[in-house]
């Protein structure tokens, strides 16, 4: 067999016409941008919902003018009803976890840059790739329908615990059709994510350019690869769970619904089902999902840190192995979401140990990032600001995991704002910081234009400080036993602390508003930004060896050959203090 195929080989023909170019495109770059756009829509929707929730929480009787237009029953005369608060809570969680934290760092950036970074022309299965985006879009559309149906969105939270989510109408408003739409939407989303993960894995395994050994892949490629392996298992389990849930709701089966339940004065016609079964299936997906959200950001941040430090991390191998072990351990810890849910107390202990153990690779990562900063030449751009902000955020949010990992403390802290603060910081904001960093970093490559640095830095400072103002107090409130998922605090116990909630609401409004700076920056720079060269950040990985924006077939008819790992910084290269992965030149250590 001959070495490499010499004649130009194209996975698909150059796109022709508007629909193929921009809508049903097979080009991984267009698909990546489509994912990003969807995530952008979802994240602003979700943020808007959180505004409404926080306002209602601290001023329950406040008339929010125009809200009655959004839902007549949900907000009669503009005053939000308790069930509508829960509807918004459910939609906020679902949108953020599935359509933002899974789509933006993983599907969007992964689609756009994974093939380029391994020197491939496109994904292994471009048609699957297109399908997986449009299926995701369908899932989003189905979920959004819940807002317009008279029944309104479901009120059972993004975890949709059974039997509340399984018995239908008698569970309350939104649980008749809203919850069904939720189940259908998530089932569709699972299929989309499975297709995507399959594509990522096959691409990484088989479409790497000559010389691109696994260990020469950039860290973000590694993160996307590991993430897709996690996603493959996780969504393969959530899908059956959703199917069974839908059957319980509409086919009269009793997978998750036990007998003898009386809801709304009606004896429910079910028997024998197990609510814990749903919790196990859901969290078997749900916990890995946390790492699906955070791992890509870890990769992106590492990639950007190396570039802005102008020196490699202390050890890329260790980072890769840490991410692997996190991915592996993430499948042994789901039970820590169920310490007080009637699981065998012994299994609570067996779940708590791997949960505590997972902090070891996490700590290794943090120490590597920190230690690598020592003796570096750190350049602070909007991108690297967010990358470093990620470290701070990851530490702050991750540390509270110490508490929740212990069943004995979970007895007290479970179901309080301590949990809310914890996961918002570590999986929500931290991985969004990764997305922001990625956006500022790769925008020049994706559009051929820089984003505005001044606005970018302003955006960072408000977001960074605002985040701490919103989520740090949640830990304190958790410590005094402030229960989560309450539409308002009617009990006198909480009244002395309402002022803090009010402050957090104000902080949330300001921080949220700052995100419009980002939106403006993206849109403005897309058209009016300063034009960017091929490799504006002097970065070593392959995506910077092709024009910005890249042509439809990435490398044209060129077949990149990789000579180095992507960590060649602080060396004497022909173009500066770095050597590109695909440049054949010898590495000469810079004299120091």
């Amino acid at each position: 067999m001959h070495e490499t195929s010499v004649e130009p080989v194209h996975v698909h023909a150059p796109p022709q016409g508007f629909w193929r170019k921009h809508v049903f495109s097979l080009d991984h770059k267009v698909i990546g941008k489509q994912y990003y756009a969807l995530a952008l829509v979802a994240v602003f929707t979700g943020m808007f919902l959180s505004w409404l929730m926080r306002i209602h929480m601290v001023w329950p009787d406040a008339k929010i003018h125009g809200l009655e237009l959004l839902s007549k029953n949900g907000a009669p005369g503009g005053v939000m009803t308790p069930e509508y608060y829960l509807s918004l809570l459910t939609m906020h969680g679902t949108l953020m976890v599935f359509f933002v934290l899974t789509n933006a760092p993983f599907a969007a950036f992964g689609n756009y840059f994974l093939p380029i970074q391994i020197g491939a022309e496109d994904m292994a299965f471009p048609r699957f790739n297109m399908m997986s985006f449009w299926t995701t879009f369908l899932a989003w559309f189905v979920l959004m329908l819940a807002f317009v149906i008279p029944d309104g969105p479901p009120i059972a939270g993004w975890t949709e615990y059974t039997p509340l989510s399984a018995v239908g109408r008698d569970a309350g408003p939104g649980m008749q059709w809203g919850a069904s739409l939720w189940g259908i939407s998530i089932a569709i989303f699972c299929i989309a994510s499975l297709l995507g993960a399959l594509n990522f894995i096959a691409t990484t395994l088989d479409l790497r350019a000559k010389g691109m050994t696994l260990m020469r892949m950039p860290l973000c490629t590694w993160a996307w690869f590991i993430t897709s392996c996690i996603a493959l298992l996780a969504f393969a389990v959530l899908l059956p769970a959703c199917i069974l849930l839908i059957l319980d709701r509409h086919a009269g089966t009793s997978f998750f619904i036990p007998g003898g339940l009386v809801a709304s004065d009606r004896l429910q016609p079910h028997s024998g089902g197990s609510p814990l079964l749903w919790q196990h299936l859901f969290w078997f997906f749900g916990h890995p999902e946390v790492y699906i959200a955070i791992l890509p950001s870890m990769g992106i941040v590492s990639h950007i840190l190396i570039n802005s430090m102008r020196k490699p991390l202390l050890s890329a191998k260790v980072v890769i192995y840490s991410m692997m072990s996190i991915g592996f351990l993430s499948y042994m810890v789901w039970g820590h979401h169920m310490f007080v849910s009637g699981m065998n107390p012994l299994s609570s202990l067996t779940f708590s140990f791997p949960t505590l153990t997972i902090t070891i690779p996490a700590t290794i990562l943090t120490l590597i990032w920190l230690g690598s900063l020592y003796g570096a030449r750190i350049q602070l751009t909007s991108a690297s600001l967010f990358a470093i902000g990620f470290i701070s955020m990851f530490v702050s949010g991750g540390i509270s995991g110490f508490f929740l990992a212990q069943p004995s403390l979970d007895i007290y802290l479970h179901g309080t704002y301590f949990v809310v603060g914890h996961f918002h910081m570590v999986m929500g904001v931290a991985s969004l910081f990764g997305v922001f960093a990625g956006t500022y970093f790769w925008f020049p490559k994706m559009t051929g234009r820089y984003m505005n640095e001044t606005i970018g830095k302003l955006h960072f400072w408000i977001t960074f400080i605002g985040t701490y103002l919103i989520f740090m107090p949640m830990h304190y409130l958790g410590l005094i036993g402030n229960v989560r998922r309450y539409q308002s605090f009617v009990d006198d116990y909480m009244s002395p602390y309402l002022w803090l909630h009010k402050d957090m609401t104000v902080a949330a409004l300001i921080t949220g508003a700052a995100q419009f700076l980002f939106l403006y920056n993206v849109i403005y720079s897309r058209f009016k930004g300063a034009p960017a060269p091929e490799n504006p950040w002097n970065c070593t990985s392959l995506e910077w060896s092709i024009p910005s924006p890249p042509p439809w077939n990435n490398f044209g008819d060129r077949h990149p050959i990789v000579y180095h790992d992507p960590y060649q910084y602080g060396v004497k290269g022909s173009q500066g203090d770095f050597v590109m992965q695909d440049s054949p030149e010898q590495i000469i250590a810079s004299g120091d």
């Binding site: 029953n73 009803t81 308790p82 709304s264």
Partner: protein, 236 residues
């Protein structure tokens, strides 16, 4: 049968004129609803979960499923003409159902098909109104304090249990009736159905836990008849 419509319109006119004149035209059926046996002992309602309501009572209010009065009289019984009279158009006035002190006032609200039903929240806490009809359309709405009244209609006659999903003890009844000839027994268990044009009627009495009873009466001219209903009370 050709003349039936004519007869009906005739009755309708009579009824209408009766209402219009508001005078004692037509006959009257008066009477009393009582029980025999020992009714279930009503327990006091424990509102400790809702202090804002609990503090409105010096002694906790009693459950209202069976409300009895002096000499075995039975309250909250709907007495209505179930047959022998044509359906009436719904009156323009709305029937009002108030939530006060985490109880329904009245406990049993009788109104007509397609009559406007107005639900008011007088409490400082958020209520939820969830009527559980079998033939009418079901809805389930919350009503935070300070929100406008909920206005609904029912287009089929039915006795509908009403509950508040937030406060388990709050239970009431909507009696949706076909015509305007009905009464709800109050203190003393007495009732009176006036303005009944001459004819043969079936009078029915309905109680939420004792079911219903019917009697036939024939009214000629403006005479007034007296009938009594006696329900069997069970201790449990």
């Amino acid at each position: 049968m050709q003349m039936k419509p004519a007869v009906i319109t005739g009755f309708a006119l009579l009824a209408a004129s009766a209402v219009a004149l508001a005078g004692p035209s037509g006959g009257t059926v008066t009477g009393k609803v009582t029980y025999e046996g020992t009714p279930a002992k009503m327990k006091p309602i424990d509102m400790s979960k809702e202090p804002s309501c609990a503090k409105m009572y010096t002694t906790p209010p009693m459950a209202e499923t069976v409300v009895t009065g002096a000499s075995n009289s039975l309250e909250n019984v709907v007495v209505y003409v179930s047959a022998g009279i044509p359906d009436d158009a719904a009156p323009s006035t709305a029937a009002t159902f108030t939530q006060k002190g985490c109880r329904y006032i009245p406990h049993l609200l009788a109104f007509q098909v397609n009559q406007e039903l107005k639900i008011i929240n007088d409490d400082q806490t958020s209520h939820n109104i969830h009527p559980l009809p079998k033939i009418n359309r079901e809805w389930n709405k919350s009503q935070p304090p300070g929100t406008p009244p909920i206005v609904e209609k029912y287009d089929k006659p039915e006795f509908i249990p009403v509950k508040c999903n937030v406060h388990p003890w709050m239970h009431g009844t909507f009696a949706v009736l076909k015509n305007s000839h009905y009464a709800v027994t109050g203190d003393g268990g007495s009732f009176s159905l006036a303005n009944l044009p001459p004819g043969k009627y079936t009078i029915t009495a309905w109680h939420e836990s004792y079911g219903d009873q019917s009697q036939d009466v024939t009214i000629s001219g403006t005479e007034s008849k007296t009938i009594t209903f006696v329900f069997k009370a069970k201790p449990y």
